[in-house]
């Protein structure tokens, strides 16, 4: 009885991974792959916001850094040896800037995708957390940092092609064009695997005592300090992890959308990321992925039909989630939301046993001591 519950989701996941590429047209599959990769950055936000209580409005920085790392590598990969990426010619740059050089190496790029954002996040985070800047001040500072990075990348044509960004789909990996359907299918699978891996990582992080410490930081940081913990170390570490995840997410998103540009660091985009998590349900992990996929899918549908209404819908979602659904869809589901609706419209679900008895902690403890009774507590 309990067993199928554990392996059914995995079975469905594998089935989806095998079936979707077969049935979805390449365009839709590519969209799904992109949205799934956004799920990874959302998982990172869930880690720092849902569990640790730090609302970062600057995850776009790390997202774009990962994207630029892979973008630079693919730019170089697409070239015959000795030549420069085309755009450099437009600005009269004759030699490859020094910081481009290491991106010839796929190994370095692979590391850079997640190590660089993690480092940047770690340093930024340390500077902020060290001074005990938290709450909305943290949010404002991350947003300011985002704007700094945006302006920098946007303004530096001679270094990274400024506003135009870097295109990636003309490069070949293992002789296959990055933009080709076959390659995009492989990338979809890679994304799927990495989303699951990211989810597993977050779950491992949050399950044990480390996760408890994060929740303790969220709920009462000074108290934890007086217990002998150094919250700065925890926050820095977890912010760096979220940064690394954002970097991976950005890299995957870049190779699937064919371009990386400073728009990835636009202020609204980073706030949108937060709302994916809020809609899905913060502190639930799976909700973050779900929210990212659902909202982006809705966005692409609406934008195809009625582009001018999307901002209304999105703004409405912000308001709705914050005021009416503070725990998001997954949280609402877990707290028995559907049952409440069911009860309201006329078919109250039957309580399994006498509720007073069921909720009594002594009875619950006893029940646990006896071994779990199937079909009992949720």
């Amino acid at each position: 009885m309990a067993k199928w519950r554990t392996w059914l989701p995995w079975l469905l996941l594998v089935a989806a991974g095998l079936i979707l590429p077969a049935i979805l047209p390449p365009f839709r599959l590519n969209l799904l792959g992109r949205f799934l990769s956004l799920g990874i950055v959302a998982l990172g936000i869930d880690l720092i916001w849902g569990f640790t209580g730090m609302l970062s409005l600057g995850q776009g920085i790390f997202f774009a850094l990962g994207g630029y790392a892979v973008g630079m590598h693919l730019q170089l990969l697409a070239l015959p040896p000795g030549e420069l990426p085309e755009f450099f010619g437009l600005y009269g740059v004759k030699a490859l800037p020094a910081f481009w050089q290491p991106f010839h190496s796929p190994l370095f790029t692979g590391l850079c995708i997640w190590v660089l954002p993690a480092l940047v996040a770690g340093v930024l985070g340390y500077l902020v957390f060290r001074n005990r800047i938290k709450g909305v001040y943290f949010s404002i500072l991350t947003q300011a940092a985002l704007l700094v990075f945006f302006n920098f990348f946007n303004g530096q044509q001679k270094l990274i092609n400024g506003t135009n960004g870097l295109k990636t789909d003309t490069a070949r990996i293992f002789g296959e064009l990055v933009g080709s359907d076959a390659m995009q299918r492989n990338l979809f699978w890679l994304t799927l695997v990495l989303v699951v891996a990211a989810w597993a990582l977050c779950r491992w992080i949050t399950r044990g005592r480390f996760g408890d410490a994060l929740i303790a930081i969220r709920d009462d940081e000074p108290r934890l300090r007086f217990t002998g913990y150094n919250p700065t170390a925890y926050k820095t570490l977890v912010f760096a992890i979220a940064g690394a995840m954002a970097g991976v997410s950005g890299a995957l998103y870049t190779v699937q959308s064919g371009i990386v540009s400073p728009q990835y660091m636009a202020v609204p985009f980073s706030i949108e990321m937060v709302i994916w998590v809020a809609v899905g349900g913060r502190g639930t992990l799976i909700g973050a992925v779900l929210g990212a996929v659902l909202i982006n899918y809705a966005k692409s549908l609406v934008s195809e039909q009625l582009p001018e209404t999307w901002l209304f819908i999105q703004g409405g979602l912000f308001l709705l989630v914050v005021t009416a659904l503070p725990d998001g869809l997954v949280g609402w589901w877990r707290q028995g939301g559907p049952r409440q609706i069911q009860a309201m419209v006329g078919w109250p679900p039957l309580a399994p046993t006498y509720p007073g008895l069921d909720l009594d902690p002594a009875v619950q403890a006893e029940r646990e001591a006896l071994g779990s009774i199937p079909g009992g507590a949720p």
């Binding site: 500072l141 920098f152 005021t323």
Partner: protein, 385 residues
């Protein structure tokens, strides 16, 4: 030397727009602890109000006093933005007191809605919206009273609003067939406000050429500062506002209507955003995205200045304004042409408006390393509690 004064004057003018923009935010954030991400959009409403007032004065009976339209626009913008802020407080923010992060997200949602609103607002749109709201408000009274007691009452409540919304949308799209009604009022394009003649000239002071519009903005800022200072320090309601800021429950016990105080504070803060919007129209064309250009700067001003101190806001805004202008315009190169090559290169690197922002924000973050509470921190033992 003149160049130096010129630079300082321009920096001051930019800084004073920032003061005006951040002033309302400082009031709302400093006194109520509310993060209003829609503050920039309230500025935008002020700017659009100016535009509307200008158009009203262009033709018709008011044509004779066209040059004075800006003086009418200022109080009107204050009122429009203030009332919009009041509505925001009454409907959304009130539910979220004590949850600053949620407030931040909700007000961001409002800012998106406001942006799109000015883009797509048309007569048909407004009619549809008004009908939907009226229907949603009236419907519960038309339904049989006992239904409100039933256990499915919440579902009914949601359903009435959904139906009202659908009716409104249907009506709006139906009326959209009529050309006159479908015409967007502003559209997504930028709008231009023509400054009255008396603001278009310039005053020469010594060798420094001061555009009148900028002088006007500086004067307006100074006036707003004095008014806010007087209001908070001397007026009865200002004292009540400060009392509520310091101890809400005690104020409640003393008979201060704290809810009214909240609403009033928000109205004043939002109204100031409207006035800032008027000032912004004098600097160039404005569009629906106006808010986004200012909001981050405004928040940096408030954080740098220290929360709850008007003086901090003024100093921080002027500092950021002057510094941004000095760096961004590359004036240092002109003032000191013989500087070493390395430094020269560095300054040239940052000598654009956006790169100047990079440097200034980086400097602010460095500064906060030494003074985390800003320039003028609030002192006392209750701060961290």
């Amino acid at each position: 030397m003149d160049l130096l004064y010129d630079t300082l004057f321009n920096g001051l003018a930019i800084g004073s727009v920032l003061v005006l923009a951040a002033l309302g935010l400082a009031v709302v954030f400093g006194l109520m602890g509310v993060i209003n991400m829609a503050h920039g959009e309230l500025m935008m409403l002020g700017a659009y109000t100016t535009f509307v007032v200008q158009n009203l004065f262009k033709n018709g009976p008011l044509q004779g006093i066209f040059p004075l339209y800006i003086l009418v626009a200022i109080p009107l913008a204050f009122l429009v933005s203030g009332l919009a802020g009041l509505l925001l407080e009454k409907t959304v923010i009130r539910r979220l007191y004590g949850r600053p992060l949620e407030t931040l997200l909700a007000t961001w949602g409002v800012s998106l809605i406001l942006q799109q609103f000015v883009r797509s607002v048309s007569s048909a749109f407004v009619i549809g919206l008004l009908v939907a709201v009226a229907l949603g408000l009236v419907a519960p009274r038309l339904l049989p009273r006992p239904w409100g007691q039933r256990r499915w009452a919440p579902v009914l409540g949601v359903a009435t609003w959904v139906i009202a919304g659908l009716v409104g949308i249907a009506l709006a799209s139906g009326l959209g067939g009529v050309r006159v009604l479908d015409q967007p009022w502003f559209s997504a394009r930028n709008i231009d406000v023509t400054a009255p003649v008396w603001l278009r000239g310039s005053v020469d002071l010594g060798a420094v050429n001061m555009p009148t519009a900028r002088l006007f903005i500086i004067a307006l800022t100074a006036l707003a500062l004095v008014a806010v200072h007087w209001f908070l320090q001397k007026s009865v309601w200002g004292i009540r506002i400060r009392a509520v800021t310091q101890n809400r429950s005690m104020s409640d016990c003393l008979g201060i209507p704290t809810e009214t105080v909240d609403a009033l504070t928000f109205l004043v803060g939002s109204g100031l955003a409207g006035v800032a919007g008027v000032a912004v129209t004098l600097l160039g064309s404005v569009g629906p995205n106006l808010g986004g250009n200012y909001i981050v700067d405004c928040f940096m001003v408030v954080v740098l200045g220290g929360v709850g101190k008007l003086l901090g806001t003024v100093v921080a805004a002027l500092g950021i304004g002057v510094l941004s202008y000095v760096i961004g315009s590359g004036s240092l190169l002109l003032v000191w042409p013989a500087m070493p090559a390395g430094l020269n290169e560095l300054i040239t690197f940052f000598a654009t408006t956006s790169m100047a922002k990079v440097l200034v924000f980086a400097l602010v973050v460095v500064f906060l390393q030494f003074r985390p509470a800003g320039l003028f921190p609030q002192k006392g033992r209750m701060v961290e509690a």
